[in-house]
């Protein structure tokens, strides 16, 4: 090992804290990329493998009752690779120990063998015996929520009759990864479960022997999805079929896709920003650090080292720091990536996880950081290396400062000399001041973009649960009912108010863009389930007017006052043109809304309902639940409070965990930046500060001079940081907005305050660390250093 390498080691040893701080900034950028992209890829890969191994269907269709023979016709459609049919029904469950009624999605299993598509992954137990009417398999999340094991029992009201069922198996299905009950937007493991039963039993209960109510199809590789769907619609129309739909409109897939999309978009938005910010900051820091080595470089050259050798020495120095950062970042990023993959994997209950190897990420992150750092070091080196050694070895001549304001005014005589020092220093290095400011602003900005989701989640909860959907519960019926059902519900114990709700599947279209949505009807003066527009005001729709989700309007490119085409997918299957009267501020799904009278007119039907929204007197809740558990005609009861709780524990938790991790990484970067800044300022000005100490300034006074500048920059950096943070948050929101879920961009004051607080706190912590050095400043040594 050459003596230069010994110097390298000693230098690194001497500056370990600072080197580590730089390495951490790099690590923050690298870790973010590896974590986010790695976990997004792993989860996507896992899902694809899950779909493939368990044969997740491509097309789904519901019918009232179709004879089995139709299935053979469908199998003959061009493009259909596999088709299978089954019975699928919703029913109210009465579970021992559960106060509220729950809902089960009952799905039939073939009497022999396993389903051709949407196969089950058995976690425990076995498949039911075909001749046992009470044996069922239940979904794992539901089983876990109730501690069900093979042998556990619960009751269900199937076709109006209460039956006791016995759990014999616990399973997972690619079809119900995200299992959402009727009338709900969030999965509720306690109150919604999938129950698989032998076909023979379910057919007997629902009088569907030799018939089916649900069809699912796997397409061949070259199939045209739309074409196959319309052919299926043609075959099912006369059996009461509602239009077939693809994966895009299948609840579980759509939600899962949305979540993965969100992760993927996050991974496309945040890590590049983090990585660029960290690269930029490391570049700045190393430029200054190498500039400090001026005299050493002069000495090396005087000793006869070539420019190349000197440059190589410092390149090595920088490379060691960067490599340390890349290694720390890679390890942390990999661990965090695995953590996130597991967290989401658990959340989705994937039966297995596939961790993607992502060598490309390590290379990209590493190379980018290294280049940024080397460029920074080389910029400083170029300046120093071109100096003749004799000049480089001498302390630089006092740099030329300028009067900040023309002498005429003489304001400088009024300001304290310490303020003048700061002002001139800033004015003398405007670029450095600007870059420091930029670095600090960026730190605040990346913190804001990591933190703002908290605020948007609260806003979402506020608008959804407290402004729009203010009902306590929703009772759904398995089929459309006459409006008299409303009065039956109104008479249930504890029901204070009841509002009818009708939902019709439709295709909505403008030009050649179309979406399949649910069109709902509600009383014009509805107070439980209200329509809230984009200005967050309650709207009463005009006669025949349609309100659509703001996002849907954007997708269709339609404005208020313009008309859209609507294909009714239930009943008469007509197509009509309806004017858009309002844009709805909503965050889950894309929807259409009308008043119920207008909707019945469109449907040419007598007033009918699919569900009833109710508000309930708390003290009669137990009575109400007990009654609903016995009601033959109800398929489910959604509870707003439970929904909100689930939202908080599921989605919000995932999002805040992600935000928390990003915040941590951003905070590390922010601290690294601020700390390096303070440390380098101290080195750059050590001699000046030591002379001040000799002149009789106390350590505290000297520290204040040093920190005044940093403090001022840190404070000045906040407003631009807020602006940049808002901009990044806007990009993030746009990237994350989906048809399944989105948020309103609100960056509340507490987010700005918290982000700035973290940066200023890092500044304070750095000040303390650097302060210790000022107190230990060896006056004699510093002043003698050129003796």
């Amino acid at each position: 090992m050459g003596k230069l390498d010994t110097k390298l080691l000693r230098d690194l040893q001497r500056m370990w804290a600072q080197s580590l701080a730089i390495a951490l900034v790099i690590a923050g950028g690298v870790a973010t990329l590896i974590m986010a992209v790695g976990s997004a890829r792993s989860l996507l890969e896992t899902r694809n493998a899950y779909y493939e191994r368990y044969d997740f269907a491509d097309i789904f269709a519901e019918v009232r009752r179709a004879p089995r023979s139709v299935l053979d016709e469908i199998r003959r459609i061009d493009g259909v690779a596999v088709a299978d049919a089954r019975i699928s029904k919703l029913a109210v469950l009465d579970i021992p120990g559960l106060r509220e009624p729950a809902t089960g999605r009952f799905v039939s299993l073939p009497d022999r063998g396993e389903p051709l598509l949407n196969k089950l992954y058995m976690k425990a137990g076995r498949m039911p015996e075909p001749n046992r009417v009470d044996e069922v398999v239940v979904s794992e999340s539901f089983a876990t929520a109730h501690r069900f094991e093979p042998g556990s029992q619960f009751a269900a009201i199937l076709n109006g009759r209460k039956r006791t069922l016995t759990v014999v198996g616990i399973a997972l299905s690619p079809e119900f990864i995200y299992a959402v009950g009727p009338g709900d937007v969030m999965p509720d493991d306690r109150r919604f479960g999938v129950v698989w039963m032998p076909e023979r039993s379910l057919a007997a209960i629902y009088d569907l022997e030799g018939a089916f109510s649900s069809l699912y199809v796997k397409l061949s590789a070259v199939a045209d999805e739309r074409d196959v769907m319309s052919q299926i619609d043609g075959k099912l129309a006369r059996y009461g079929g509602t239009a077939a739909f693809g994966r895009k409109d299948q609840t579980s897939h759509a939600w899962l896709d949305h979540e993965l999309d969100m992760l993927r978009n996050m991974s496309r938005t945040l890590p590049p920003i983090f990585l660029l910010v960290s690269a930029f900051l490391v570049n700045l820091t190393l430029t200054r650090l190498v500039a400090l080595e001026r005299e050493q470089i002069g000495l090396l050259k005087a000793l006869g080292f070539s420019n190349g050798a000197v440059a190589a020495h410092y390149a090595k120095f920088v490379a060691v720091i960067v490599l340390a950062g890349i290694v720390i970042g890679s390890v942390a990023g990999t661990l965090l990536g695995v953590f996130i993959t597991r967290m989401f994997g658990d959340f989705f209950r994937f039966p297995f996880l596939m961790f993607e190897k992502t060598p490309d990420l390590y290379v990209i992150a590493g190379v980018l950081s290294l280049i940024a750092a080397l460029l920074g070091a080389m910029r400083a080196l170029r300046e120093v290396v071109t100096l003749p050694p004799a000049i480089a070895m001498k302390p630089p001549a006092p740099p030329m400062f300028h009067h900040v304001v023309p002498l005429l005014g003489r304001v400088d005589r009024w300001l304290s000399q310490r303020v003048m020092m700061m002002a001139r220093n800033l004015a003398h290095h405007p670029l450095r001041a600007l870059f420091t400011l930029l670095g600090l602003s960026l730190s605040t900005a990346i913190l804001i973009v990591s933190l703002f989701t908290r605020g948007t989640m609260e806003e979402l909860i506020d608008v959804t649960y407290f402004m729009a959907d203010r009902q306590d519960a929703t009772l759904s019926f398995p089929e459309r009912k006459s409006v008299t059902a409303l009065y039956d519900v109104g008479r249930l114990p504890g029901v204070v108010a009841a509002e009818p709700y009708r939902e019709v599947p439709v295709r909505i279209r403008k030009g050649n863009v179309e979406r399949r949505i649910l069109l709902s009807g509600r009383p014009r003066d509805a107070h439980l389930r209200q329509i809230i527009d984009v200005d967050l005001r309650r709207v009463e729709l005009p006669e025949g007017g349609l309100a659509v989700s703001a996002l849907l309007a954007e997708i269709l490119d339609v404005k208020v006052g313009e008309s859209v085409e609507i294909d009714l997918l239930e009943g008469q299957n007509r197509t009509l043109s309806v004017p858009v009267a309002a844009l709805v501020e909503d965050y889950f799904g894309i929807r259409g809304m009308m008043d119920n009278a207008s909707l019945s007119r469109l449907m040419r039907e007598a007033p009918s309902i699919n569900s009833v929204n109710i508000s309930v007197d708390e003290k009669d809740l137990d009575d109400l639940y007990a009654r609903v558990k016995e009601l033959p005609s109800v398929s489910g009861m959604a509870l707003q409070r439970a929904s909100l709780e689930n939202f908080r524990t599921n989605v919000a938790l995932l999002i805040t965990t992600m935000a928390g991790i990003y915040t941590l990484l951003a905070a590390i970067i922010a601290f690294g930046v601020v700390y390096n800044n303070a440390r380098i300022s101290l080195s750059e000005r050590a001699r000046e500060l030591a002379s001040l100490r000799v002149l009789g300034f106390t350590s505290g006074e000297v520290l204040r001079i040093l920190l005044l500048e940093l403090g001022l920059l840190a404070v000045l950096a906040q407003p631009p940081g807020w602006a940049m943070g808002y901009g990044l948050a806007w990009i993030m929101r746009t990237e994350l907005a989906g048809e399944i879920m989105r948020v309103r961009l609100v960056v509340d004051p507490s987010t700005y305050a918290l982000a700035s607080g973290i940066v200023l706190l890092s500044a304070l912590l750095s000040a303390l660390v650097v302060g210790r050095r000022v107190y230990k400043l060896d006056l004699v040594a510093v002043l003698k250093s050129r003796d």
Binding site: P395, A397, P398, P399, M400, F401, H402, H403, L407, D412, S416, Q417, R418, M420, M421, R424, N425, H428, R687, E688, A690, S691, L692, R693, V694, L695, G696, F697, T698, S699, E701, L779, V780, L783, K784, R786, D787
Partner: protein
């Protein structure tokens, strides 16, 4: 004779570097009196700077006692040493250590802001003949001028002692003479006790006393019966 400004009693300083003990000062006894100009001469490494740094409150002796008037410096805590420097001591070093971002005036005012009974910065600069360069930055001045600003800065707090460690070390002879002249003028006008370390034997001619150092000890003290005026110095 008047009471001494400094009184050193068996002052010793040792440095431990690795296994080696370096005796920078070996039991030095010395008195310095008000208004005196003392020149310290001696080979490099003989302990001159060490003594001056201890007198100026920048460093502490390993053993022995040092009194400034009737305060025992060797017993003062850090905060009081800072306070002592702030109000009583002016330093001038070989390198001027001016704050580059402040003008001549402001460099001086920096000290007058914190001192107990300072003189006006203009007056201090006038004493060193720089009344016309007040708004210049260090970069705009020659080495000699910068050193004179350093002297003005050192005396602006109206210190009782002025400690100069090779103040002309970086200057040519003509400029060096002007710096010495500035120091002498301060001494005669304000009566500031002045200690000057130098390698330049010619400078001893302006001193009241010349103290020769060798190997951490005072080897000889000479009194100048006839001081030369600084104007007559050439080297």
């Amino acid at each position: 004779m008047a009471d001494a400004v400094f009184r050193a009693e068996s002052l010793s300083k040792t440095y431990q570097t690795g296994d080696v003990l370096v005796h920078a000062l070996r039991s030095v006894d010395l008195e310095v009196f008000p208004g005196e100009v003392v020149v310290l001469l001696g080979p490099s490494g003989s302990g001159k700077s060490t003594l001056l740094n201890i007198m100026g409150g920048l460093d502490r002796p390993t053993s022995g006692r040092l009194f400034f008037k009737d305060r025992e410096l060797s017993a003062l805590p850090d905060a009081e040493l800072t306070e002592y420097r702030r109000n009583n001591v002016g330093f001038v070093f070989q390198f001027y250590n001016l704050v580059p971002s402040l003008t001549a005036y402001e460099n001086v005012a920096l000290v007058t802001e914190i001192a107990a009974e300072p003189m006006a910065p203009e007056a201090a600069l006038a004493l060193v003949g720089l009344q016309n360069r007040m708004d210049h930055f260090p970069a705009q001045m020659s080495g000699g001028e910068q050193q004179r600003v350093a002297i003005a800065r050192a005396i602006a707090k109206a210190p009782s002692v002025l400690l100069c460690d090779e103040p002309t070390g970086a200057l040519d002879s003509h400029t060096g003479a002007r710096v010495i002249a500035a120091l002498m003028s301060v001494n005669s006008k304000l009566g500031t006790t002045t200690l000057i370390i130098t390698h330049n034997a010619v400078i001893q001619e302006v001193a009241h006393r010349v103290i020769h150092f060798a190997d951490g000890k005072i080897s000889r003290i000479a009194e100048n019966a006839h001081r030369k005026s600084a104007a007559g110095l050439v080297w």
